[in-house]
Symmetry: C3
């Protein structure tokens, strides 16, 4: 639930000045988590988000965001040459430029397969078969974060279409031997209704010269009766490695009244019969007013694991 801390411009600003504002929102989670590699233990988490928005005289809107947890992380958010959790944007009409802690084009527009529900420990999205599209999985898919995470992305929305173009400097603008200087990304998405199905299709491409290129595709369909289903595919071509990395994933969701349940499965195929896969389950029950009960389960298995890994979490999530 978003709240705006009202700018009492009447008190401190001259009349007629457009009001910029700082909004505070928060979240907290309490419960237990564990798995076959960890004892069941207490889970406590919390965050506060500062959301700043304004509007220039010409109608251009702008804003910036940082989370309290990001503010205390390294790299330091106050260092302008790196991304330390901060992001900011300007927007005019359907065009928006965002910089800092934001998704690359592929991650922004290609749907992921966690379609409904959610959990305290994100069990359903941290298993070995989940494709984030942001470079988390072995650092070779998505390519976001290959540099210092300082991404610039231009979005353009037109009718049911959205297009995105992104750039992340690999080494603060310098050229790195065998890699290049910039991660470029381009992606497009379409959302609309086909018969009674709410369809979203996203296609993205992200690449660093001389290093790697990823192509990602995702389709999600909102069906009747609260059901949803999706499928994604990605191909990553790494320079100097003979086999491409291919990923297939699928997701199912169900939402009815206060209940939301999501299931997803995915597999990374590194070639030569070397594969990792996993599935995740998330269930949430909305108690209203920002409170919900959540359960998550994740399962990972494959050639990178000597034994399968199971994780789970259970508890309450609060949003303020």
């Amino acid at each position: 639930m978003k709240k705006i801390l009202f700018a009492t411009t009447a008190l401190v600003a001259t009349a007629g000045v457009a009001s910029a504002e700082v909004a505070l929102t928060g979240s907290a989670e309490m419960g237990v988590f564990g798995g076959n590699y960890a004892d069941t233990q207490f889970f406590t988490d919390l965050d506060v988000t500062f959301t700043m928005t304004g509007e220039a005289d010409n109608g251009l809107t702008f804003g910036a965001t940082i989370d309290l947890d990001e503010a205390t992380d390294t790299p330091d958010f106050e260092d302008p040459s790196v991304q330390g959790g901060e992001n900011m944007f300007i927007s005019y009409g359907g065009m928006t430029l965002t910089m800092g802690d934001t998704d690359g084009a592929l991650d922004k527009l290609v749907p992921e397969m966690a379609l409904a529900g959610g959990s305290l420990a994100d069990d359903e999205t941290v298993h070995a078969g989940f494709q984030h599209g942001d470079g988390d999985a072995l650092g070779i898919t998505g390519l976001d974060g290959l540099g210092d995470g300082q991404i610039a992305r231009l979005d353009y929305a037109y009718d049911a279409f959205t297009f995105s173009l992104s750039a992340e400097q690999v080494a603060d603008g310098a050229d790195v031997s065998g890699m290049g200087d910039t991660v470029w990304g381009i992606a497009g998405a379409w959302s609309g209704t086909v018969s009674t199905v709410d369809l979203t299709v996203g296609l993205g491409y992200q690449a660093v010269d001389d290093y790697a290129a990823t192509t990602g595709l995702g389709v999600v369909a909102g069906l009747a009766g609260g059901f949803s289903a999706g499928i994604d595919y990605s191909n990553t071509d790494i320079d100097g490695v003979s086999d491409d990395v291919n990923h297939w994933g699928l997701g199912l969701g169900y939402e009815m009244n206060a209940l939301a349940v999501g299931f997803n499965w995915g597999q990374f195929d590194y070639g030569n019969d070397y594969k990792d896969s996993g599935y995740g389950l998330a269930a949430a029950y909305d108690l209203g007013g920002g409170l919900s009960a959540k359960f998550g389960f994740g399962h990972s298995d494959g050639d990178s694991f000597s034994d399968e890994v199971n994780t789970y979490s259970l508890g309450l999530a609060m949003s303020f």
Copy 2:
């Protein structure tokens, strides 16, 4: 003084949604402090507290808190497996479950002896004779914080009685040889009026199997004319140590109009005639609007000290 940053739900939420909110409060202190082991030097301190509260559809209330100074400390508050300053609760009727940065049952319900006033440097509560009930004194009394500080406590209030049950995992759920896996605590308190005396009595017990057990008792009486008086006692039995640690303490308070003065004395007896004791004095004068002048003095002496230690602080405290 508590302030609520209003949730302008009218702007951003659909009508009828219960409003969760984030409140910001602050404090600051300026002055000087010193003692016989330190030159007199400037004292500057400040904190900001984020207090989040909400109410679910069924009337269950919930909330979470973090301080800005805790947010920047280690361990990291965003790590769900440890406590880094965050806490959160759910409450229904007289029952409340709190997790994270909160007191164990003994510390929650057994009164401490700093009855009135307060100081910038907490001189009156950091001397060698003060019993905090939270494990600060030599790490053997109170037992809070023996693990990662992530405490779960269930409180139940019924009429004039309050009961608390708490648990803190020693090592994220694992069993530690010679210690056990959990610090358990149980406590009860009663508050009421006997003749013209406002009485609060608290009794608590906290223990880790195979390591130590503490029993604490505290009584505070609010007398006529602004006077208050209290006494506390604790016994700590450490496994493998022949002598128990015993603590006696007493406190006096006086509050009249804007003035509040507190005095306390206490002694830890480690057996074999090995003792530490100390006393503290705190005085505060309320200037209104959140501003007060404060003075504190603490004195420590005993067998752990080659020489006695005196500390003092003087200055202004602000609350916003």
Copy 3:
């Protein structure tokens, strides 16, 4: 643009209690920066400021401030014996006492030469010829920060005059051999109109016994047609060094409607023909509502540099 998060005292406090408040303001910058020693790279920066204010019953006002970026820096702002970004003040009539992260007397009252505009990377004030008056330049001018940065300053405003007296302990109150125990500062300023010129004159002196003494003078004149001009001079006498350090600087500013442009030049003369100098240019165009476009350029040259250094930055600055 400053906004006050309203204290809804009506909800949580008893009637008649003066309302202390916590205000949140923010800023963000996005763009690019670079120079002849660095590739052009993305620039992202953000900050949030907590401003707390209150008023005591007797009319004395008080307050405190911290920035989110300072809160996450070391030294830790919650350590009362050092300055970690926090400051607080009390004020009554024309008299104000400020402690913590604040300017010494010289820096407070002697004008600097960045008269108009501003840039993302502060190019116009970080070049080798700029006199900050706060001890940044080689640590020998201004002397602020010679200790732990915990400054106490008393300001007194009377008619068009302001006087300041400041103290910073070199080593938490201890005497340091060859240096002394305290940085003392004293300064005075006058602001008024002479014919049609808005004039500000500031003179300050800051010294540590047995170490160094700085005298600074600055004059700024606001002229007709949006023009302003200024000149500053400082002399620093370092014990045991035969030559004084002398600095000359000048500044020019122009502001017309939404445009503001500033230029400054300065030179440090360390004696024996050893000199460093630099100039800076800053331009800002106000787009309204808190948004402005900014450009900065800085140039450093001199005997401390094997080659000249140029830096620039370009982008958008937002204030919320």
